[in-house]
């Protein structure tokens, strides 16, 4: 069971890294500003998934703190940039 679990974690990590590349490509080739901002948000969420899978593979719980910080900061950043796009000013 341990071997199956480890193999599934590695396969999921590789899949998330490929999806991260696809989302980064969409950041460069998006058709308008909101589309690219959506792709940036998706890149941060997929990086969060990669960090969580690293926690599962290595078994070191310090990466959960990294994931918490990344989730909070990307949430605030995307909200601020969406407001900047909508109102053409930040505050």
């Amino acid at each position: 069971m341990e071997e199956i679990l480890g193999a599934v974690f590695v396969i999921a990590l590789v899949a998330h890294l490929l999806l991260l590349g696809v989302a980064a490509w969409r950041v460069l080739r998006g058709e308008n500003a909101v589309d690219r901002l959506l792709s940036v948000e998706l890149v941060s969420v997929l990086a969060l998934c990669v960090v969580l899978l690293t926690t599962l593979i290595t078994g070191q719980s310090i990466y959960v703190d990294v994931a918490l910080g990344l989730a909070a900061l990307s949430f605030i950043g995307t909200l601020a940039l969406a407001k900047y796009l909508a109102d053409q000013r930040m505050f």
Binding site: R26, L38, L52, L56, A67
Partner: protein, 123 residues
Amino acid sequence: MTVVVQLLILILVLIGTSFSILGVLGLIRLPDVYARLHAAGKVGVFGAALLAAAVALSAPSTASKALILVALLVIAGPVVSHALASAANRLGIPVKHALRDDLAEARRQLSSAQPNPPPDSPC
């Protein structure tokens, strides 16, 4: 770690990964920004949150932090999707394959009823 917990972790990781794959597939294939928001919102709420639940099951000492992460993701995902859809609507990005636009019609009726509309309230 019993076999039942390991099986549960396996199922959570598989479902989370499939949600991530389907969300990025929708980001590539769907026609406009609003439909892409619908697909990409699933990655944060289901993909990452199910992986965080798997972390909470695999290491009981970090279960509290992982559950806080689940709550943060479930609250933050819809808020970000709503903010991006509101920004797209204010920028005037059209909906593709739409038969009618109820919001534009309501705005036109509102502006004809009030000749001097008040400025938009800062949201």
